[in-house]
Structure formats: C-alpha cells, structure tokens
C-alpha cells in the first residue's frame, strides 16, 4: 500500500484548528487545576481536621475514577445543572480542571512539604501571619521546586485531552479521525497524529529535563 501525504497536506488547516483546541484546553485546565490544587494542598496541610478530610476525600475520589467517566459525568451533568445546553468545550474544561486538580494537589503538597520548617519558623518569628508566610515565603519556594513536575503533569494533561474524542469535541484527535474516515486514510492520519503528539510531548519533556538540570545547579 502507498502512503498518501496529500491527504494530510489538504487537511492541515482543519487539523491545526483541532490542535489549537487541544492546546487551549490544556492551558486553561492546567491553570485552573493548579489554582484549585493550591487550595486543596493548603487544606490538606491545615490544622483543621475537617478541611483535611474534605481535601483528602476530593483527591482520593477523583484519583480513583477513570478520566473518561469524569468526562461523561460532566457532559451529562453540566447542561442539567445550568438548565440549557452549553458548548461541549465548557463541559470538558470543567471536567479536566476538577480532575487534574486532584493530581496537581499531590504535587503542590509535596512541594510545600519540601520547604523546610525553619523557613516557616523564621517567617513567623518576624511577625508574619499564615497568609503572608504562605504567599511570600513558602509558596514561592515550593513553586520553584515543583515547576518541572508541574510541567510534566501538563504534558500528561495534553495527552489526556485526546480523550474528548469520546464526546466528539473537535480537538486534534477528533479532527484526525474525521479526516481519516472521510478520506478512508486511517493509516496515514493516525501515524501523522502519533507523530505530532510525539514531537510535542517529547520536545516538551526534553525542555523540562533541561530546566531541571539548570535548577539543580
């Protein structure tokens, strides 16, 4: 059989749109997920038992569910709660944000714990309160330590966005499949899709590794 590059070239604008949606979903869900994750991590490390329990329950709940099931849940739930159909993009964004927050929060928690207790003591000794200590002393150091891991998780999130395929949201994967089926060129399109994902994720992880080395020195 012959490998038909023409199919890919003709479909490039359509595929690029799909890739744009994948990247947008990744960036927004990562940003929202990290904000929520900081909150969850602070709750998990707080002195209040109730807050700790709520946070632990949230994290363990989402970590024991398949992402696809979470996506199905929110595609079903969000229109029901809002009372009218919303675009699939928002349902997906909410699903990814809440789901990824559970994973990010474990990273953030480890990052906060990596900052030595002496730092907290020193901040308290100068009269800072909890909020200021976290904001100006602990979190900046924690984020510095965990940036590589957060970025690695973002690469995984980017791979995960391909799962919106199951609800036919038109990301890069869905776009590739549409072209593949319309043109009857499954081999070309899926090999191309794999290559694009590989190049993005591999160069992303190489960049993270370089960052990590620079960090270490």
């Amino acid at each position: 059989m012959s490998f038909d590059l023409g199919v890919i070239l003709d479909a490039l604008p359509f595929l690029a749109q799909g890739l744009g949606l994948s990247l947008l979903l990744t960036v927004l869900a990562a940003a929202g997920g990290i904000v929520l994750a900081v909150l969850l991590a602070l709750m998990r490390l707080s002195g209040f038992r109730a807050l700790r329990l709520v946070s632990a329950a949230y994290v363990n709940f989402f970590r024991s569910m398949p992402l696809i099931l979470v996506i199905f849940w929110f595609f079903f739930l969000v229109p029901l709660i809002i009372g009218r159909p919303v675009g699939g993009f928002y349902s997906a964004l909410i699903a990814f944000t809440l789901f990824e927050a559970a994973y990010y929060s474990e990273i953030v928690r480890a990052g906060i714990q990596s900052v030595s207790k002496g730092q907290v003591a020193a901040a308290y000794a100068t009269g800072m309160r909890y909020g200021a200590t976290m904001r100006f002393v602990v979190l900046p150091q924690a984020f510095r330590n965990m940036t590589p891991v957060l970025l690695t998780q973002a690469i995984i999130l980017f791979q995960d966005t391909s799962l919106v395929f199951v609800v036919s949201l038109r990301d890069f994967m869905t776009a590739s499949t549409i072209v593949a089926r319309n043109e009857g060129r499954l081999v070309e399109m899926y090999v191309f899709a794999a290559a694009v994902y590989f190049v993005i994720c591999f160069s992303g992880s190489m960049w993270v590794r370089r960052l990590q080395r620079k960090h270490a020195t």
């Binding site: 059989m1 709940f61 970590r63 024991s64 569910m65 398949p66 992402l67 696809i68 099931l69 199905f72 849940w73 079903f76 739930l77 029901l80 709660i81 009372g83 791979q159 995960d160 391909s162 799962l163 395929f165 199951v166 994967m173 499949t177 593949a180 499954l186 081999v187 899926y190 090999v191 899709a193 794999a194 994902y197 590989f198 994720c201 591999f202 992880s205």
Partner: protein, 239 residues
Amino acid sequence: MSYNWNWGVLLQDPYLGWLISGVGWTLAVSAAAWVIAFALGSIVGVARTLPNRFVRGAATAFVELFRNIPLLVQLFLWYFVVPELLPEDWGRWVKRDLPLPEYTTAVVGLGFYTASRVAEQVRSGIESIPRGQTLAGYASGLTTGQLYRYILLPVGYRLIIPPLTSEFLTIFKNSSLALTIGVLELTAQSRQITEYTFQGFEAFTAATVIYVVITLSVTAAMGLVERRARMPGFIAGGR
C-alpha cells in the same frame, strides 16, 4: 433542575447484567494488560540500568516512544494501523482470525503503554539502591546476573511497591479507553444504560462507586503486601 430519579433501573433486566459484564471486561482487560506491562516493563527497566550502551539506548527509545504518544492514539495504531503494516498473510490473519480482536488489541495496547511507565519505576527503584550494595555484591564474587537476581531486584521491587500499585490502578482506570475500540467494559456499559434509559445519574453513580470500591480494595491489599515485604529496620535513603 428537573430530574426523575429511578434507582431501581440499576436492578432491572438487562441493565444489571450489563453492569456486571462491564465489571468483568474491565477486570479482564486490566489483569491481562498488567501481565504484559509488568513483564515487559521489568525487562526494559532493568535494561536501562545495564552497562551495555546499545541495550540501554534501545530500552530508552522504547520508553520515550510509548510514553510520549497518548494511549488513545496508541490503541488506534494497534487496531487500525498495525494490521495494515504487517506482512500480508499476518495482516489477513489478524483481521480475520484473531480471537476477540477488540479485547486483544486493548490488552496489548494498554500493556505496552503501561510497560514504559513500569520500566521507569523499575529503573528508579534499582538506581535508588546505594552503589555500595553493587560493589559489595561484586566484591563477594557475584556475577552481574546473580547481583540482579539476589540483591538489586529483590530490594528494588520492595522499594517500588507503592508506585507499582499506583501503576496498576492506572491500568485499571485506563482500561476504560478500551471502549473506544468497542470493548463494552464498565464505563461503556454505564453510558449505554444512560442512552437507553436517560437515567444518567444512576448509571454513572453505579460505575463510579464500583471504581472507587475496587480502587480502595486494591490499595488496602497492597498495603498488606507492603508490610509483609518490609525490610526490618531499613529506611529508604536513610543513609
């Protein structure tokens, strides 16, 4: 928000049967894929720690390839692309005679993908063993094979029981992707029930509860295993 609750639907024929069969497929895919992931992942992980540069390079290439392509894309490659690229006779056999094609493909795809992650755990487990242990093994006359068999692997696997547990749970959750090539596992069945009955809350709740219960059980069971495999007095990275 208006919604007609009907939890009874979960116990009605045929929906209860669908759920049970869904759980069966989920477990069948996860277990078989785990066998591949563990065996292949161990080989590749060990290969990444060997002195031979070519073996190490090949193992690294395997890991990078399988971990930088989304699992969904890999499943489609195994299902739609690989049969076309095989020699003609094999391709025909795979397309016509392969038993349970969707199931087999899901198991192989999930197994290879997870193998790359298991390999990284095995490698880091071995690398976290102090170098002195290797020297002590060699100093007493052990060969490289014996060193791995009696010291590095027994210690390495004990150190990575927690991450391996979470890799197993990852396979268990990722087995839901098998629905994209037509395996009617738990998630697929819960959606099918939703489509037939419009009782999404009930169907998805059932699936969620089953996933959570199995995850908690596996975690508890592995906690027991971890305690039994404990090395008395040994604190990882303690010196």
